[in-house]
Symmetry: C2
Subunit: 723 residues, 2 copies
């Protein structure tokens, strides 16, 4: 294959995605931003979100600076150790023995790390900017032109995010590859550098998710507890001092944080598959193997761009249908493109056909038949969709689980909580069985490369799925602005319609994010084992077993840290809101304007303070375990965090979603309706579920991926460890 041609196409498609995002952004700005209260409230939210991201980025930049220097020094001076690997002669696999110039290796990895960090920050920032501009315009569109126009504005707002994520993510990757080839590195070396890029993206994702997640939920919990329960004012009421912080939170957590998260997933899955390609193909076909993965990736971006044109609201039809249409078109296009890619790369794929009868025990089994890569990708795509549907089943009020939680709320707070927790735990069953089937079947037909491709397949249409997901918080914000500006009921009804669709898509998206994190991590994990030159990770060895239980514990401990942080930050906020109600008694009579900025400030400071420790835990633990106890034990640790983390992530996402919708169901008048015992109990459940579903749950996804990515980058350096 012509390397320059393929890299060129990839760069052009990435730039096209970014260009399209820019076009959409200009388009949004051209819409009517409304007037009076609408503009005022919207500007509060915008300022708050900017202030938080500025402050957050300052903290992160310090961290990036330190990390970049550390990586540079580590790889510069540490390289002698890295090259001192022993070849594993039992397996007929490619062993990492390429010789790099020390300075070059250190500089290259540090720079690609830096680029990964900056691109991830940029994607998040652009998404936030677009969302905070689209919210008031969605409100105004709902007021002036009705639901079709409002849907259009909100979806365009989300698409800026979706396209930026895949555009930035892929562009960076292509730049790393192109530069590496320009410097004459071989494909395997090029992929090694790109793991640094992925590490940069992962680190930012963790900070973004944890920081943004703490921010948004601290504000939300405080606004609910003091506003709804103590002061008995409705949601999104302008008298609530925490209401702006709550709306800001949607933008910094659910938009910027989510964007960095999925950029990371997306990049990691591509690099995971490319690393496996580099390891399993012989020298002749290695470059083509990597190009095949890249082609699959840019096909997904192209499919997403085209698919997004098909999101068009129709009078009298649910906006959900329009969003679904875009997703379906993208998926179908992607399947067609992938099939073509499989045909184009048939020679390469044929070279990897399954020949070694012992391969099954040695992790080097390749393809069973020549269209195995294509089918592996389809498996991944299907697993993602199916897990998303199961999440919907467990969290939508049309099904029995949410109804049951609402019913259990009638007997009070405790039974509501018990029902939510047991529903969340139960909801791990089907997704895990689907995931296990996906792993085993993609491995069965495509070997490890099959598993890696399945992960890529799952995330391939990320462009459109992120757009749909980012649409949610915009619709939510639009509703808040309508409420706070005192627009008439009709406007709120339209935004509510848009928002309720957003809740469903968010639930589906969360299942999808977990599934892709799991699949990607397993692919990265396999790549790690190969790069660390391990032939097996034997859990029958007590020290690996010890690593396994410590890894499982990390998932719980990390969750506790994040949840505690939300609690602490929420408490500070609660005190502030109470203080304002106490010292400014005019607020509740609409005679005084609450001090929104103070609440925004508190949330910002608390989130920044609290995000550092959990992030450091995720980064330092795998390094420490790897260097002290060796790659085997680290493998056990990763497997433990992976297995337990997936369960916690599914449990928390679904319990949180189900509690939320049980409350909404009761608010429609069922089981006693607003103000009943059941309603009060359901608010408790919703409040408990907030840090579950929007802070701890999504953070665990990244924890898993980040720990595996770090291990992959440093894999060759661990060896047997010091103990």
């Amino acid at each position: 294959m012509n390397v320059v041609l393929f890299l060129g196409i990839g760069i052009v498609i990435s730039l096209a995605a970014l260009g399209y995002a820019f076009y959409l952004y200009r388009k949004i700005l051209s819409f009517d931003a409304g007037k009076g209260k609408v503009v005022e409230i919207s500007s509060y939210i915008k300022e708050g979100a900017h202030a938080f991201l500025r402050a957050e980025y300052k903290v992160i930049f310090t961290y990036i600076f330190i990390a970049t220097i550390t990586i540079f020094i580590g790889f510069y001076f540490g390289y002698d150790h890295i090259s001192g690997l022993t070849e594993n002669s039992n397996t007929n696999i490619v062993v990492d023995q390429t010789q790099y110039s020390d300075l070059f290796y250190g500089l290259g990895t540090a720079l690609s790390f830096l680029m990964g960090s900056l691109f991830s920050l940029s994607a998040g920032y652009v998404g936030m900017k677009s969302a905070t501009n689209a919210n008031s315009r969605t409100t105004t569109a709902a007021q002036k032109s009705g639901i079709i126009k409002a849907l259009d504005v909100a979806f365009k707002g989300g698409s800026v995010m979706g396209m930026s994520v895949v555009g930035f993510g892929l562009l960076g990757l292509f730049i790393v590859l192109a530069l590496s080839f320009a410097f004459g590195l071989d494909p395997y070396e090029a992929i090694t550098y790109s793991a640094g890029y992925s590490l940069g993206a992962s680190s930012i994702a963790l900070f973004g998710r944890v920081g943004g997640g703490i921010y948004t939920k601290a504000a939300d919990v405080a606004a609910d507890l003091v506003g709804k329960i103590e002061a008995e004012i409705p949601e999104d009421d302008p008298r609530n001092p925490a209401v702006i912080a709550d709306n800001v939170g949607d933008n910094v957590g659910d938009v910027a944080g989510m964007g960095s998260d999925l950029l990371e997933s997306y990049v990691s899955s591509v690099i995971g598959a490319a690393t496996i390609a580099a390891l399993i193909f012989t020298a002749v076909h290695r470059m083509d193997g990597i190009l095949f993965v890249m082609t699959v990736a840019f096909s997904g971006v192209l499919s997403s761009i085209i698919g997004s044109f098909f999101v068009k609201g129709k009078e009298g039809k649910s906006p959900f249908k329009a969003l679904k249409m875009g997703t379906y078109v993208s998926a179908i296009l992607f399947i067609i493109f992938t099939f073509i890619a499989n045909v184009l790369f048939l020679d390469t794929i044929n070279s990897g056909l399954y020949t070694d009868p012992n391969g099954i025990f040695m992790n080097i089994k390749n393809f069973e038949f020549e269209f195995a890569p294509f089918f592996s990708i389809i498996i991944g795509l299907s697993v993602g969709v199916l897990i998303g549907l199961v999440s919907e089943y467990y969290t939508a009020d049309a099904y029995r689980h949410v109804k049951n939680i609402a019913k259990q709320s009638e007997t009070g707070h405790a039974t509501n909580i018990i029902a939510g927790i047991s529903t969340g735990m139960e909801s791990t069953l089907i997704p895990v069985l689907i995931l296990a089937t996906g792993i085993v079947s993609s491995y069965f037909i495509g070997g490890l490369f099959g598993v890696g491709l399945a992960a890529v397949g799952m995330l391939s249409t990320a462009g459109i799925t992120i757009s749909v997901d980012a649409y949610g918080p915009i619709a939510d914000n639009a509703g808040g602005i309508a409420e706070m500006s005192g627009l008439d009921k009709g406007v709120r009804e339209i935004t509510d319609q848009l928002d309720s669709v957003g809740n469903t898509t968010a639930a589906i998206e969360k299942g999808f994010a977990i599934g892709s994190a799991a699949m990607t991590s397993i692919a990265l994990f396999s790549a790690f084992i190969r790069k660390a030159n391990l032939s097996a990770i034997d859990i029958a060895t007590p020290k690996v077993m010890a690593g396994l239980i410590v890894g499982a514990m990390l998932a719980f401990f990390f969750s506790s840290m994040v949840i505690k942080s939300v609690g602490k930050a929420a408490n500070e906020m609660i005190e502030e809101v109470r203080r304002q109600f106490r010292e400014m008694p005019g607020i509740l009579q609409y005679k005084q304007t609450p001090d929104y900025a103070k609440c925004v400030e508190i949330s910002t400071a608390a989130a920044l303070k609290e995000m550092v420790l959990p992030a450091m835990l995720a980064i330092i633990t795998p390094l420490a375990v790897g260097f002290f106890f060796g790659a085997q034990v680290l493998g056990g640790l990763l497997a433990g965090t992976l297995a337990t983390g997936i369960m916690l992530a599914i449990f928390m996402a679904n319990a949180g979603g189900a509690w939320d919708n049980a409350k909404k169901l009761i608010e429609t008048g069922e089981f006693g309706g607003k103000g009943s015992i059941a309603h009060k109990a359901s608010i408790t459940g919703d409040t408990v579920g907030d840090p579950f579903k929007d802070t701890a749950g999504p953070s665990i996804d990244i924890l898993i991926k980040l720990m595996t990515t770090i291990s992959l980058v440093f894999a060759a350096a661990f060896g047997l460890g010091l103990f």
Copy 2:
């Protein structure tokens, strides 16, 4: 060593423990049972407990009958398959190739399974009988003679249970071994049969824990919700229709269920270590290796009997000190006995000294030095004590975590729940690090046998620790009887003092139970791998990874089933209590006696109905996975359930304990005291914690052990599986 002599000593000591239990039981009956209301209330509880156990045992007998037949048929007809193993020539280990007569093998395993079941049931039954007789006598002693006599009666009541458990447990094991030797079987065969015994005990333990746990918590939750919150009557108020069922629950769950649970742990740990001994020692030393393990076991029983004489209350001193003294004396005696055993078996141990430099990678590493077995046992003992202390730290109101939960209750139900959940999750950190250190260090000095011995060491003094644990529910019941009989405040104060000690010992015990379950399972897991003739279980293989995540999921799914069952059973009970309050308005004015029997009946029926499904899941899953997907995948599954299950068990036990004590702390007047917002919120936490700490948490311990035991028994039959 003289086999007959050692077996003889073992049988004599086991019988001594049972004889001592019988003596104590007669002694308890000789105490004053009180009069009037005390006798009446106590007889309600006694009748309820008997009724439940009778009904439960009926269900269980059906199951035992089916299981015994199945095992007989399975091993009778299935043996051809089992003997068709291929020897693994890469490892210089003993491979299971002994030839049994088919009929003999089937009959022997089925009979030892039957004996394990019956002995477990007997221990639970005896414990319950003793506890239901000791409760009213403790009340009367508190009323007539003061705290010292009351402590004495309650502890004697608990000791009947403690001594029965170790007596029955060990006696059965010695009988299986003695019979096997009498029939001329070799030591390895004898141990194979004893795994059937362990399986019998495990199965009963699961039914007992799940059934008893559902019973006790359904009653407790209903009594709290309707009684305390809706009718606003205090705890243990005779007007509450569910109050007798609640007290019955303590006896069937926390006494009978706990007894079967620990009997199972105890027996499994001994069999795990003995199986490893049979596998690692050469033919000449194999018998002595097994005898060494048995000697360690009966030393523990002897130490417990002697230690229990040292529990003597002193005027003005906390009863906690007296209980601790007994435990310390037992531990010190056990250490001395173990050292002597190590000296006696020095020849055998020397034969297992570490010689193979490659052993570390092949799971066949033996002892580093000749006192390695002794030190492995000490490690186990220390790990158990340390984990217990950490549980105390997280659940006692003297420390910051419980105080924090109480403080968070001031802002309402949601913050109380969030604080409890994050505390429970955080509390996994230290126990897991201790456990990991224990595993690695015992393995380092003693190889796999070291890990097995550490598990035995942890449970060695089970006789005294169970006595202390069973004392708790008796003191609790005594308080309830005092309250319901309207005795004067002074009596209740004494029983409260006894009860509060019981809460602390229960928390320590729970940590201990989890630690021992983990350690035992890891030992059994190692034995399983060896028996299945696997050289490694490689998590880098995707199908093993799939097994791992499915295993992790099982722990969550199982928990959800058990928690849901408690919820369902509690709901039926709530309806009934409400009905009684509604239809018999005289109850609240003390003019009508509530229909206690109806509540007992409902709890019984619900618990029996709900316990079957989770128990079946635990039993059938490992068998199905093993037969269909092979021993490798089953190994992954077990590791997943083990790693995630440990976390869930610790999380639930400590969250539940902390919520409970936060409520008690508030009831002492802190943070607003009784009736405050904080108090109401803390009751919610306590109610959520009930099924956590007393049903799901302890059931997971058994889930882990049962799944591993089943896998061990059928290990040789799985092979590569059908897929």
